[in-house]
Symmetry: C2
Subunit: 196 residues, 2 copies
């Protein structure tokens, strides 16, 4: 199980790390020992929207070989959604079976065409903008359309991470990981099963 | 207002980023325009406990000139709490008026002597270990002792960040930042005011 965390300039670090923490515990806590991941960028130099530097594992390589992509949001998305080179790169993820986003990362999934005909969500400030790309914008914290899962604003990243943990490894793994994260909130927003 | 985020090898990224997000919004959302921060390390090469690289702004420089330090936890703390060179470096933060930790970062504050006579908290797995360093271990999510504030496990980092936002800029700033983070949970665990 191979995951690509998509990183880009002026992303929001918590959008990324909030999913990264629970998901990578699938490996570190030994639920899915073969779970692995890479930080994938289109350009070498990546800083978040407040100046923190991130070091990519791969640069401008095809995303077609992954099983899961995670796309965070942040101010950078506003320009990147209209950047043809970046969007073409993201489109290389077309064969990936599970495409996910946090916050305005949904605008990037949208500009790559991955939300066509789907329900999706994003940061409440970007609900209007997202309508261009999907069948319906929902206000729920996690919208699971089977092959595409979108989460709302920044901190919903933790809930998305736990949701993906449950899809990949089941509810017991989710409960263990949430406990290790000392996260008592997730159950409050647990979405209905995929497609319901 | 100058903040040092302490980073070290085998830290847990979410312990750091969960505080960093709300706190740095004091500047990016213009509540405290003069708020600034640096990522401070004792060694050049820093990766989190799952391999993600972080790039420090300062290495082995004194921490005495900051107004706030934030110490994350992670597996790295278990050895570092007994590492004399690291602990001596952390002790350079003695004059800092507000010292804070997330998760097992409390063990590092403890080994530097900053928890002596104080109540404190940490990840539930480390409650016993923390007893060596403080007057009493509490199970609350945030323990505010005025000049020292400790938070429980990993995800309590977001709650600590919002708590510090409120101390620095007031409850309106906290509410705005929590809304921008799309974080509906913080109010559930809002601790009593400092010292109460």
């Amino acid at each position: 199980m191979k995951t690509a965390f998509i990183i880009f300039d002026r992303m929001t670090a918590l959008d990324l790390i909030g999913v990264y923490d629970p998901l990578t515990r699938l490996k570190s806590m030994n639920f899915v020992p073969e779970f692995n991941w890479q930080m994938c960028a289109f350009t070498e130099e990546i800083s978040d929207d407040r100046g923190l530097r991130f070091v990519p594992d791969t640069v401008a390589e095809s995303l077609g070989g992954y099983d899961l992509i995670v796309v965070p949001g942040g101010f950078g998305t506003r320009a990147l959604q209209h950047d043809k080179l970046f969007t073409d790169w993201l489109k290389s993820a077309a064969p990936v079976k599970l495409k996910t986003s946090v916050c305005t990362g949904a605008l990037l999934l949208g500009s790559a065409g991955f939300l066509a005909g789907k329900r999706a969500t994003t940061h409440p400030n970007a609900f209007e903008e997202l309508k261009l790309y999907c069948a319906a914008v929902e206000t729920r914290r996690i919208v699971d359309e089977g092959d595409v899962v979108t989460a709302r604003g920044v901190s919903s990243s933790l809930d998305l991470g736990l949701h993906l943990v449950e899809r990949i490894a089941g509810s017991k793994a989710r409960a263990h990981i949430a406990k290790q994260m000392d996260y008592p909130y997730g159950e409050l927003v647990r979405p209905p099963p995929a497609g319901k």
